[in-house]
């Protein structure tokens, strides 16, 4: 199986294996922590599709996370109480949102796009805060059910494997996307957008495509979050939350498919597990971000790669780093 030789797949399978074992520890805290990790991984992977592959810096990605979370909450609380159906409904309802926001924002040049996404993200936040009747305002919505008509995932083991199933599904599908012709197009867009029309492609179409898929996956992570927490509040739409997948991606290395997952792991450990650090995680993250920009552009992924120089295949290069050796 040629695909198994891919280092990415190997590492991914390793994560699958380790994650699958977690509930066997019977430690509620670890189960919760790893659930969060998987959710953030999905969120960051969706973000990196936009940022690392297409070179689109969005400050409004929380919009999709929140739309997934709130739609799931509203659906399961008011229409039909089942987490799986709720997730599916909200995932597909993110598509029209992505199309509308995408069509409006993607026409503009890079910096303006970034700032526009910031504005739209905050627009969503304002909507969630002000529309008390529907969204519960700043108090949010509570009592999001884990037990549903079709499936019941109330116990930690069950909801963990529910999240795990989506984690596996998303990480594999997105990987296959990046390896496909679509992935090639997205990378070409990020690399040299101006050439695209002369290669017979429409930059706007590729941008919109990427944006929509990215939003779709992000909303799945939001739904999972709502189900896990049982509660949603507007702060998941605030722009600082949009910055989190960005930081995770940078830390892990935006040039690598698995970078965001690595970054998500570091982030979750830093901010949740190490209580002493949790207080001042912004400081640590800030230093890490600066370190990445100034020196370690490839993030931690880049550091790891330099240890494996010459032995890896199909690693995307990162800015400023020279060719990493021979190819087999």
């Amino acid at each position: 199986m040629k695909i198994l030789r891919e280092a990415n797949i190997m590492v991914l399978l390793l994560t699958f294996f380790s994650l699958a074992l977690v509930p066997l520890t019977y430690e509620r805290f670890y189960i919760y922590l790893m659930s969060l990790f998987m959710i953030y991984s999905i969120f960051s992977l969706s973000y990196n599709l936009l940022f690392g592959y297409a070179e689109l810096l969005s400050f409004g990605h929380a919009l999709f996370f929140a739309s997934g979370a709130y739609t799931t909450a509203l659906f399961t609380l008011n229409i039909f109480s089942d987490p799986l159906i709720g997730l599916i409904v909200s995932a597909f309802s993110s598509i029209p949102i992505a199309l509308v926001v995408g069509l409006l924002t993607l026409r503009h040049t890079r910096i303006y796009f970034s700032i526009l996404t910031l504005a739209f993200g905050m627009l969503a936040y304002a909507l969630l805060v002000k529309w008390r009747d529907v969204t519960g305002g700043s108090d949010g919505l509570v009592g999001i059910p884990k037990g549903g008509v079709l499936i019941d995932i109330t116990s930690p083991h069950l909801y963990y494997y529910f999240i795990f199933a989506f984690y596996c599904l998303v990480t594999i599908s997105l990987y296959m996307l990046t390896k496909s012709k679509w992935g090639l197009l997205i990378r070409a867009l990020g690399d040299n957008e101006d050439r695209l029309p002369f290669s017979g492609h429409s930059p706007m179409f590729v941008r919109l495509f990427t944006f929509t898929i990215s939003g779709f996956v992000a909303s799945i992570s939001g739904s999972l979050y709502a189900i896990l927490m049982g509660v949603v509040t507007p702060d998941i739409a605030y722009w600082t939350f949009s910055a989190e997948p960005l930081v995770m991606t940078l830390l892990g290395g935006s040039g690598y498919y698995l970078g965001p997952i690595l970054g998500a792991f570091i982030f979750v450990i830093l901010t949740t597990a190490l209580a002493r650090f949790a207080e001042y995680w912004q400081l640590i993250l800030g230093i890490a971000v600066i370190a990445v920009i100034l020196g370690f552009r490839g993030g931690i992924g880049g550091v790891i790669e330099s240890f494996y120089k010459g032995r890896t295949r199909f690693r995307r290069d990162v800015y400023g780093n020279p060719e990493s050796g021979r190819f087999n």
């Binding site: 070409a188 690399d191 050439r195 017979g200 060719e323």
Partner: protein
């Protein structure tokens, strides 16, 4: 059969007329070269035809169809491909990926992509990222990227510039092999290449066409010689 007709094309940047009321037409399978001093408007003309820039006035016809209003992408898909003087590849992608991206919309079979890579000597670089390749190789890649699109009209912007002598010969020989299969417009400074390849030469200066004819006629044209006096 007329493949391209340009009528009254004009492009101004502020007060500066980069392309000034240019009109000409090209027959199918012609090999035409556009020459002229730097700043004459040659590349701008190409940018107008391929819609990298929008003309201020004028019309462009492709097989008698008015393409003035079409986008760059539509024009590319209709059958007009162009290369860039200062190459513009997808730097962080590999050679084969660059070629693949260029060919995706044109349904070119994989075997042909292989063949073109081999013919241009790019096969051994196929998994190398373009940013790590020399300029000469990148120019060959530029050529490959347009050839795989099977264009009806191929516009090359200084395909030989920056190349070593043997690399130039390789390109010229290759282009000669395309005779009667493709219509070619070549912008060039290298007179050796021009006179070797072209059956018709258009000379531009200050945004206008000042001469248009077969190579011998152009070589003896008084105005042209004046303009080129002192140039290599």
């Amino acid at each position: 059969m007329e493949i391209l007709r340009v009528e009254g094309l004009t492009k101004k940047f502020g007060d500066f007329k980069a392309v000034d009321n240019v009109s000409f037409s090209v027959k199918e399978y012609e090999i035409l070269s556009i020459i002229g001093p730097n700043g004459a408007g040659k590349t701008t003309l190409v940018n107008l035809i391929t819609k990298k820039l929008n003309p201020d006035s004028g019309r462009i016809f492709f097989y008698d169809k008015d393409i003035t209003r079409l986008t760059a992408r539509m024009i590319n898909k209709l059958g007009i491909s162009r290369t860039f003087q200062l190459v513009s590849p997808y730097r962080r992608l590999t050679v084969s990926e660059n070629i693949l991206v260029s060919a995706l919309q044109f349904n070119t079979p994989r075997s042909e992509l292989q063949e073109i890579m081999i013919n241009l000597g790019l096969e051994k670089y196929k998994d190398v990222k373009v940013q790590n390749l020399s300029f000469g190789i990148q120019k060959l890649l530029e050529l490959a990227m347009v050839l795989v699109q099977h264009p009806k009209l191929l516009i090359l912007d200084e395909p030989a510039a920056g190349l070593l002598l043997h690399e130039r010969r390789k390109i010229v020989d290759f282009l000669k092999g395309l005779e009667n299969k493709i219509t070619l417009i070549v912008i060039e400074h290298d007179m050796g290449v021009v006179f070797d390849l072209a059956k018709r030469i258009i000379v531009m200066d200050k945004g206008k066409i000042i001469a248009d004819g077969p190579p011998e006629e152009i070589a003896n044209n008084k105005t042209v010689r004046e303009i080129y006096l002192g140039e290599a």
